[in-house]
Symmetry: C2
Subunit: 112 residues, 2 copies
């Protein structure tokens, strides 16, 4: 995968995670798969709105869906979560690496 495509995926994932409703949907789906109407039940918003959120989650790769009959069943796609996690871990890694370098520098410079 080239860099732009990767960035576009990261962008889609973090954009999707940026919304409270979509995160609530993911929390629900992390327990077990559910139909769109089941996902919509706890919310004070229209079914159509929840359906749109599901589409965004699916396009981002955080959720996979399958339609059987008239019911669309949704489940977590762990790949999407992994992508977000990787990005975060990489930032943390670089940041901590910097501390290590700093410590080494101080050790060399002032060995008592």
């Amino acid at each position: 995968m080239n860099a732009e495509a990767h960035d576009a995926r990261v962008d889609a994932v973090f954009h999707a995670l940026g919304d409270v409703t979509r995160r609530a949907i993911l929390e629900r789906l992390s327990r077990q798969p559910a139909a769109v109407s089941e996902l919509a039940a706890p919310f004070a918003m229209s079914l159509a709105a929840v359906g749109q959120h599901v589409q965004i989650l699916e396009r981002s790769g955080l959720v996979r869906t399958e339609k059987s009959g008239r019911v669309r069943t949704c489940q977590i796609d762990p790949e999407g979560l992994s992508l977000a996690r990787q990005w975060i871990d990489e930032r943390k890694r670089l940041w901590e690496q910097r501390f290590d370098r700093l410590a080494n520098f101080l050790d060399e410079d002032e060995p008592e």
Copy 2:
């Protein structure tokens, strides 16, 4: 910390991460601390805009800043990243736990 406050922090962090520019700022800061004007340099947008992004990052807990003289120096606050990571890991954990339960169920039901 109560649940609402935790949710509010999670919300602020993921909202902050939802923007490409802010993620780029974090990428820059993961290498080393920088002043607001340094952060702004690579972008085709006003200094004020970048300053606003920094404020959002700071309120979310992803970045810590300190003003000395007229320069505000920014650095990563790893706590914010940890919070995001914890949320993601918890979803992954629950999701995988579900697979384990399913496997156990199948083992019991059809022990060959």
